[in-house]
């Protein structure tokens, strides 16, 4: 079983809708949580970064971490066609032999239709 699970999609939404993405994980030691966006044939780029639990908002993007449920979410409000991409979650422990090594989800493909 993978440590990080992410539905690959595709997730298709109309322009203006809220996009809801999530990842589940099995390792309770994960403390650092990231969301990356990857356009086709490009490298991933960081969207959101949170430590431990809680919410973080940046413009149209909100990241949530629920450590009790081992579940993280990314919400995109007022989605635009330019949000069409693959979104990857990533997480890491802060100590032990996995120190600094991020585990990535498989990525969810999002398509925002005009």
């Amino acid at each position: 079983q993978k440590e990080v699970e992410q539905d690959p999609g595709p997730l298709s939404v109309p322009e203006g809708a809220i996009v809801s993405l999530n990842c589940t994980y099995s390792n309770s030691a994960f403390q650092y949580f990231m969301w990356y966006r990857q356009y086709s044939r490009k490298g991933p780029e960081l969207l959101m970064y949170t430590y431990s639990s809680g919410n973080k908002e940046d413009g149209r993007f909100t990241a949530q971490v629920d450590k009790s449920s081992k579940y993280i979410s990314l919400f995109i409000r007022d989605s635009q066609p330019s949000d069409s991409a693959t979104y990857l979650c990533a997480m890491s422990r802060d100590r032990g032999d996995s120190w600094g090594k991020f585990q990535f989800g498989a990525g969810t493909q999002v398509v925002v239709t005009p």
Partner: protein, 112 residues
């Protein structure tokens, strides 16, 4: 150019050949990483380096060799390429182990 670059961008090789993928960053980041990306698996860490001359294995290191004699360069070598190593390879760098990782544009490798 500032940033992180990878070369070549595309490579076709044959089974058994040695292949080296290059990665160069201009930020003087201490940490550098090599990932492979395959459908259904996401990004998997091959090797990483915390500083020049310090490297460590990631999740899928078998069949790969890395070196880091200079901070800015982190080449990845496939000693004897196999078809299972057909993949997209991404190099990344960061200022620290938990800092944002900046990714290169990727190298698309096909092993025939």
């Amino acid at each position: 150019d500032a940033g992180i670059t990878q070369s070549p961008r595309y490579k076709i090789t044959e089974t058994g050949r040695q292949v080296t993928l290059m990665c160069h960053q201009t930020w003087s980041h201490s940490y550098m990483f090599w990932y492979r990306q395959d459908l259904g698996h996401g990004l998997r860490l091959i090797y990483y380096s915390a500083a020049a001359d310090i490297t460590d294995k990631g999740e899928v290191p078998d069949g790969y060799v890395v070196s880091r004699s200079k901070t800015e360069n982190f080449p990845l070598t496939l000693e004897s390429a196999t078809r299972s190593q057909t993949s997209v390879y991404f190099c990344a760098s960061s200022a620290g182990p938990y800092n944002e990782q900046f990714f290169g544009p990727g190298t698309r490798l096909t092993v025939l």
